[in-house]
């Protein structure tokens, strides 16, 4: 079947024929970078619009519907506004840290794109510790938030950043442990291995109770890690005006905003990859005909369908629940989620050793 691999191979063959190997590698890296930035921008626009339409749908109103056909160009108009806006730096701010922080957020989000398999054979970097890479790099996000909060010289920002620090560091544990559940079942940290292990059924179907628990904990933990409601204490509009990015404006604010949405996309993509089979179509045991029909649906549609479903769930949380308080937030993690995920991991390990999963 036709796949993205063919395009990549064509490009690679053409480049190899015309340039020397070093230049070929450099050009390919640049092309990959441009592709990521393009995807980045496109995702940002789509997700912001999607969030606003989902919110409007939940709140019995219409949402953006004036700019372009059915309001589809609203995000472009917003971006244009943010680009032409002045990027203020407060007087007492630490100039270097203040200006670097949004870019760190951005770089982290871009790095996380690397090990994600967007479709069959379409992955920038299938490194053998893919899942570990994701957990490691995603924890760098907290550095940019702390930098932004500290350097703004604003008390609201500082409070928001401190909350965010405590929150992200705590919830990283649960997210990591629930990812480990799948790693234990698969026996590999490589993203492509994890997806291929789900060829005969996604982990959510063949992993029994431990995987369901891990999935629920994963969704809760990543919602907290990406600072989304009901865990949006770092921003907490009604308490801290805008939390760590209170002093940011223009494009620097937009970078934080974009990084937040891209992070949501990435954690949902990871969730879809680990628990829902990534680009792997939905297969039922020996139903040959059914499985063939499912295979005809392109793998990218499977991947983006699952990812956007999870994104929708996270948006649904945001527009339904009130916000937790900081002590309740930490209690939830340290007293409930962490012990549960530890026991869950033990059970999953026992199951993997005894071969009790399908």
């Amino acid at each position: 079947m036709w796949s993205f691999r063919h395009i990549a191979n064509e490009i690679h063959a053409w480049l190899s024929a015309n340039f020397n190997p070093t230049l070929t590698l450099i050009i390919e890296m640049v092309l990959a970078g441009v592709a990521v930035i393009g995807l980045f921008a496109a995702l940002g626009l789509v997700l912001v619009l999607m969030e606003r339409r989902v919110a409007a749908w939940i709140q019995i109103r219409l949402g953006p519907n004036r700019v372009g056909p059915k309001g589809l160009l609203q995000s472009l108009a917003d971006t244009l506004k943010l680009i032409v806006k002045e990027g203020l730096t407060p007087d007492g701010a630490d100039k270097l840290m203040f200006n670097v922080a949004p870019f760190i957020a951005m770089i982290v989000a871009m790095l996380l794109m690397a090990p994600i398999a967007f479709a069959k054979d379409f992955q920038l970097w299938d490194l053998n510790i893919g899942v570990l890479f994701v957990s490691a790099v995603s924890s760098l996000m907290v550095i940019s938030i702390l930098m932004a909060g500290w350097s703004s010289n604003n008390k609201y920002s500082l409070l928001g950043a401190m909350r965010s620090g405590a929150q992200i560091v705590s919830y990283e544990l649960s997210a990591g442990l629930s990812i480990l559940t799948i790693v234990v079942f698969t026996g590999s940290l490589q993203v492509s291995d994890i997806i291929h292990a789900q060829a005969d059924g996604w982990w959510i179907f063949k992993g029994h109770l431990p995987v369901w628990i891990a999935f629920v904990i994963f969704i809760i933990a990543v919602t907290a890690e990406t600072n989304r409601a009901p865990f949006d204490l770092a921003e907490a509009e009604s308490e801290l005006t805008a939390g760590f990015h209170t002093e940011y404006s223009g494009m620097k604010f937009a970078l934080f905003f974009l990084a937040e949405y891209i992070n949501v996309f990435i954690v949902c993509a990871i969730g879809a990859t680990l628990f829902l089979g990534g680009w792997m179509p939905f297969h039922i045991g020996n139903w040959e005909g059914f499985n063939r029909v499912m295979d005809y649906i392109p793998s990218s549609i499977w991947f983006f369908g699952k990812t956007f479903f999870l994104i929708f769930v996270i948006m649904w949380f945001r527009w339904t629940f009130p916000r937790l308080r900081i002590d309740q937030l930490l209690n939830l993690e340290w007293k409930y989620l962490l012990p549960i995920s530890m026991i869950n991991l033990l059970v999953a390990t026992a199951m993997a050793i005894l071969g009790w999963h399908f």
Partner: protein
């Protein structure tokens, strides 16, 4: 009132919440002293929206000054107007036609529901849930439409005049109110499903911001803020005006004294208002909607005081007359001011997030506090 000495020590974080802040719903300025996330002291600074309404009223005639009071507690402007009209009528000693009395009560109770709807949405928004605001506005819109049809305005109605109401109700009034009742009863369960029953919401509200009955009385709290602590303070029951003594409704009391109790008082009060409207909507007596009064009103020399129950508590109007066409002195006792004064007392020792929730349960309207 504040322990100025010894509360703020070196290393404490002092934050100015407001006058422009999303949580204060207006130009309230709170200076809070923090130890980490824990509140050590809350100091409200007032005066950002002071328009000296009381002084303005001294130069306006007894018909004119009522309109200014719509701008005090703008969410219950009907009830403010009602209080002033009652006070002037007390001085004039006019008899109000029964039709006007019933229309006045209907309008008051509709206003009370509309005000509590807005409070419910804003309170959920303070806790970080944005959706309830739009659900509340769905019902509030219908009330505003009813008001618009009869009074010609949606927020500052200026419908009550000394002697009755300004004009008769719109022919559609009864039908639209009944439609509203049907719509409201169909949707009321959504409120509980979306907010009241939510586990996060209950954890944020229960046991937070405890106000003892003794403190509620000594700080002068009225309205739902006091009734949440079990202090009976419903003016409609204690000192009935118009025909409230002939109506069947309960004074809503909760005894827990925390934020959740104050929340439940308002939720249940909406039901009681519905009960009152249901009793009256089909029984509006025929007759005049306004008593005959002179074109230029003159109150006899003396002092007059009336009190009514607004959506936020007891509103008192005190008029001193020298016998002229304008009042010599007017003083309003607004519920918001006393309810705000208790904030420092109940907020100490809790977290910043709770402060916002407590302000929500006190239902502060800043122009009512500053006047």
């Amino acid at each position: 009132m504040y322990e100025e000495v010894g509360t703020t020590t070196e290393g404490d974080l002092v934050i100015n919440v407001g006058p422009q802040h999303p949580a204060t719903h207006g130009v309230l300025h709170l200076v809070i002293t923090l130890n980490g996330e824990t509140i050590k002291k809350v100091e409200p600074h007032l005066g950002y929206i002071h328009r000296s309404i009381e002084k303005m009223c001294e130069s306006l005639s007894y018909r004119q000054f009522i309109y200014v009071t719509s701008r005090m507690d703008y969410l219950s402007s009907h009830i403010n107007n009602h209080a002033c009209a009652l006070c002037v009528e007390k001085g004039l000693q006019v008899e109000i036609p029964p039709r006007a009395q019933v229309i006045r009560i209907l309008m008051d109770e509709l206003t009370r529901i509309a005000s509590h709807e807005l409070w419910w949405g804003a309170m959920a928004m303070d806790l970080g849930a944005f959706t309830p605001f739009f659900h509340a506005f769905r019902e509030r819109e219908s009330i505003n439409d009813i008001m618009e049809e009869t009074c010609g305005a949606r927020l500052t109605m200026n419908y009550m005049v000394p002697g009755g109401v300004m004009q008769d109700i719109h022919p559609n009034f009864q039908k639209r109110v009944k439609d509203f009742l049907v719509q409201y009863k169909k949707k009321i369960h959504e409120y509980d499903e979306l907010v009241t029953g939510n586990i996060i919401f209950q954890n944020r509200m229960k046991g937070i911001g405890y106000l003892s009955p003794e403190d509620a009385i000594s700080y002068g709290c009225t309205g739902p803020a006091a009734r949440g602590s079990g202090v009976s303070s419903d003016i409609r029951k204690l000192y009935p005006y118009e025909i409230y003594d002939k109506l069947e409704f309960d004074e809503v009391l909760e005894t827990a004294g925390d934020s959740f109790a104050r929340y439940m008082v308002r939720i249940r009060e909406m039901q009681q208002s519905i009960r009152i409207i249901e009793q009256l909507i089909d029984n509006i007596p025929e007759g005049d909607f306004q008593a005959k009064t002179k074109a230029v009103l003159k109150l006899p020399k003396g002092e007059f005081y009336t009190r009514v129950e607004t959506a936020r508590g007891e509103l008192g109007v005190y008029i001193v007359s020298e016998g002229g066409t304008t009042p010599y002195r007017i003083k309003f006792r607004s519920p918001g001011f006393s309810n705000l004064s208790v904030l420092d007392h109940i907020a100490r020792g809790s977290k910043i997030g709770d402060l916002v929730a407590m302000m929500g349960t006190l239902d502060l309207v800043i122009p009512d506090i500053d006047r």
